[in-house]
Amino acid sequence: MIRIENLNKSYGRLAVLRDVTLSIPRGRITALVGPNAAGKTTLVKSILGLVRPGSGRIVIDDHPVNRDPVYRERIGYMPQQPAFPDNLKVRELLAFMDDIRGASEGVAAGPFDRAPGRDLIDTFNLSDSMDRRLGTLSGGTRQKVNAAVAFRYGADLLLLDEPTAGLDPLARTRLKEVIAQERERGTTVLVTSHVLSELRELAEHIIYLVDGRLEVSSSVTDLLRQTGAADLEQAVARLMAESAESAESVTDTQRPGAVGEAG
């Protein structure tokens, strides 16, 4: 389980995470949603140690996230915009990643060992691209390589930032199947996506951030009951509408003469 306690992060005067406290349940798929600039990517980057929090802490299974990179052995990460060295071939990139993972002590399991029977290269139709340089690949194929790297090491925790962006319908379906298989395996998955219909069949828990603040952290079932929505997409749409309304009312009360108007 990931526990985030009183996490704050600012870039200069801009606060991107404001006193965020939440838990991400183990072995379940959690959707991290919110409007643009809600702080979703910063939260994921904080878990990875790419962003140093201003205050607060993150604990993964009783191990606090600090500068020791060992905890990342258990993490698979799919960034929003995959960028790879242009002149390496896909095969070489995967060997590079294997090399790095193998370099850390304690990684006994090699690629695929912990997820038997799954060949990600075939799953994402990458066989024909293995000897092509990464700089020559289309955005969609790069995203497939991105997925292959993230799922390759049988991680206990998967952090997927907009994983379906740029994928064709077939690859998108395959990716969702792979995520579902990970759920069966007991992997903890945190996924951010703007396309809520993608998360509908997958997400069991939801975290909703607005303007760096945690608005909702609940199971999808509870959220549907509370909002009276038919599905996740509708529930989140209602949450977003509520947030927009409350932001408008705050703006109204802050406007000169707003008290008089309200009264």
Binding site: R67, R72, A83, P85, A103
Partner: protein, 263 residues
């Protein structure tokens, strides 16, 4: 093999396959070959090459290193999502960029010069000294490029700073020195000029290289002072130490910033 060495190995492969490096080798080879064809012997060709190398090598090191670091930013995030420490990544990146550039310098300049100097031991010694200084200058300029790219977040501004550093060290510096020389008496310049030389890696390299020829005689009174200082063992050692400091100090500072910054 350490994590840094593994990263350096793949970086090196990526950089070595890039067009930039091939063009750089061809440029240096062409310059050396042209001067060899124009001059009667290797020593005279070397003397002619010094000024060209003092301009081209730092410029390419600064621009290539800065461009590469900005281009690799997203992939660096991905590498840091693996069990890789920032120190290891930084060391691997530096080796992966600086070594192929140093190799290109040796190959592009060394091949024609060594062939031209074959059979003449004193000319060969001169070529070795020349290549050694060119490599040290390459490593120092890559260090400065790494410092630039981690200290300046914006890519365009960073490229501007890299060009400004090169311009200051190779053009503006000369202007200041000429202005000082034309307004102050030679005796008053003696010590400040020595200090200024040691504060500029390009000038330190220039003096180290010129000392092997009679070029210092052309520099008048200050030239004689330089010859006395840099011509001796202590002076050469101080110059080499200064150049080494120009490699190490910016690199340590850059690594310190890299380890603490948000990515």
């Amino acid at each position: 093999m350490s994590v840094s060495a593994r990263i350096a190995r793949y970086e090196l492969r990526d950089v070595s396959r890039g067009r930039w490096l091939i063009v750089y080798v061809a440029l240096l080879f062409g310059l050396a070959q042209t001067l060899l064809a124009l001059e009667a012997d290797t020593t005279r060709a070397l003397a002619g090459l010094i000024n060209v190398v003092l301009i081209v090598v730092p410029l390419v090191g600064l621009l290539f290193g800065t461009l590469h670091m900005y281009g690799a930013r997203d992939f660096n995030r991905m590498l840091l999502a693996q069990p890789v420490g920032r120190r290891e990544l930084f060391n691997g990146l530096y080796a992966g960029v600086a070594l192929p550039l140093a190799g290109a310098t040796i190959l592009g300049l060394g091949l024609p010069l060594v062939v031209g100097a074959l059979g003449d031991s004193s000319a060969l010694a001169g070529v070795a000294r020349f290549l050694g200084v060119a490599v040290v200058l390459t490593l120092a300029s890559v260090s400065l490029s790494f410092l630039t790219s981690v200290a300046v977040r914006d890519r365009a501004a960073g490229m501007g700073v890299a060009v400004l550093i090169w311009l200051s060290l190779s053009v503006l510096y000369d202007g200041v020195l000429i202005a000082a020389a034309s307004t102050l008496p030679s005796a008053a310049l003696e010590r400040p000029a020595l200090i200024m030389t040691l504060l500029n890696p390009i000038d330190t390299a220039r003096v180290l290289l010129l000392m092997q020829f009679d070029g210092a005689a052309l520099m008048g009174y200050t030239g004689a002072v330089f010859r006395n200082f840099f011509g001796g063992t202590t002076g050469t050692a101080v110059a080499l130490l200064t150049l080494t400091a120009w490699i190490i100090l910016p690199l340590l500072l850059a690594r310190r910033i890299f380890r603490r910054s948000d990515l």
